[in-house]
Structures are given as structure tokens and as C-alpha cells.
Symmetry: C2
Subunit: 133 residues, 2 copies
Amino acid sequence: MRYSHQRELILKEVQRRKDYPTAEQICTSLRAECPRLSLGTVYRDLNTLVEVGKIRRVSIPGEADRFDSKILVHQHFFCNRCGKVTALPIADGALRELIDSCPGFQVEDYMLTVFGFCADCAKKEQDGDVTND
Amino acid sequence: MRYSHQRELILKEVQRRKDYPTAEQICTSLRAECPRLSLGTVYRDLNTLVEVGKIRRVSIPGEADRFDSKILVHQHFFCNRCGKVTALPIADGALRELIDSCPGFQVEDYMLTVFGFCADCAKKEQDGDVTND
DNA sequence: TTAACTGCAAATCTTTTGCACAATC
DNA sequence: GATTGTGCAAAAGATTTGCAGTTAA
């Protein structure tokens, strides 16, 4: 694989952001400094970066894939109310141990996704707030 | 919600099968006894059945959603080689406990997906087999 | 009778791909 | 100079939706 300006920008953007952006969000954001950047290229480069292990794909059912530069984090929380994604502070070793306790599977990767209300939204929900941020 | 012949058939089909079928597979299968069944209806009814808690959605990144009638099973294994889905025999309590140990999240649901080779494929891979089933 | 459900087709959304051109090594 | 990467547009795949007709209560 050889150097590419676009791929570098895309990796930096995923590393910079803490909100697990989608391909679309990355593309829109980067067009400020790279106006001709195309969404197809973003998708292609994101796939490459996942393949070489520089970033991780975070999938939420029914939503566009998101990307994370913290490749050692396998567990995420998705807020059903505001749509925000957060890393879940579960001891990774404990989860891995549970998975490895199942015989007969050759595990390569895993992802735990938890759904519910984040702290902010749980509070708003309680207060009868109807807005969405 | 009132009775519908189609919805009943769809629920029965998900319960009968053990391979976590997609909407498309369910539709194709049921057309034997219900020739005019439409894919749109299958999607609509599956969503309804998920909402009322009769079935569960099993999402695999990059693949069509699959459906499971065992609504208490939250963890699945996806074979990267043959594409088969299997329930993972992890003690549900242990997983739930790990998740609940994260403070500040109001958990409504969770799903653990593990990727790798299933027992059959691990063996074939070892033997240098190149077929896919 | 009337509100919910269906079939069908068109629309939407995400992601991939073919191709001609550009950039890297 | 050969090969890999890019932009653009079109295509593909999964899912949703509008609408007119059908069905269950």
C-alpha cells in the first residue's frame, strides 16, 4: 500500500473526532480542506484502514457504519434517544474471557453493542423533556 | 394490533427455522403456501414482531438483518467463512452483570456478536479446503 | 363500517463499482 | 513507466413508504 493524501486525512479525522463519525460525516468535514474529496473514496479508504487494523468499524442496526480509532475497544453504547455513541468501560479481559469460555469457536473478533439511554437522556426523559439534544 | 394471516405465517416461519433467516429468505420460503406474499409486508411484519417482543433482530455488519425467535439469546457467532449464525452458549447472567457494572447508562438491550470460524470451517481451513460449505 | 393490513412499485439510504484520469514510487 | 489511488456517476442491495384495494373486528 502506498501513501495517499486522502487516506491520511481520513485517518487523522477519525483519530481527531470523539463522536464515531460516519463516512458521510467524515467526507463533509474534510471537504473544507479537500473540496473534491468524494464519498466513494472515503468509503474505499475507510475499508482499507479497517483491513490494515488502523481503525475499527462500529455498526449499529439500521444506521450507517461509524468508525473508531481506538481499535482495542470492542464495546459501545448507543443512546436510543439522542443517537450518541460512547465507549463502554467494561474490562476487556473479562468480556474476552466469557467469549473464550465457549468451546468450538475460533474467535477472530467480537463487538458488544448496548442500547438504552445515556446519562444525559435518562435525566431528560425523567424530566419529561421532549427535545432531542 | 389485530390478527393477520401473513404475520402469523411469518412468526411461525421464524420459530420453525433454526438458521436465523433474512426477510428475503422468509418471503421466498413462504411463497410456497402464500404466493402473493410481498417482501414489503414481510419487512413490515418483522418490524412489528420485533416491536412487540415476539422475535429478535440479529444484525451482522454488511449483511441483511436476520431474525431469531429465541428472544432471550443476546449473543451470536457469525462464521466469516460459511456465513452461518449460531447462538453462543454464554451464561447470559454473567454478560448482563458485566454490562450493569458500567455506571451511568440505562440499559434497555444489548447484543454481542462474535466473528471467526465455526467448528466445521476451522477444520476445513486447517485441511486446506477451499470450498465454502 | 372502519381502521389496520396487504401487494405492488417507486423511493430512500448506504455502500460498492466501473472507468478515465491523476498521483505515487 | 507501471501501478495504485481518486473523482464521478451509475449500480447494487437492503429497507421503507405511498397508495389503492382487501380484510379482520
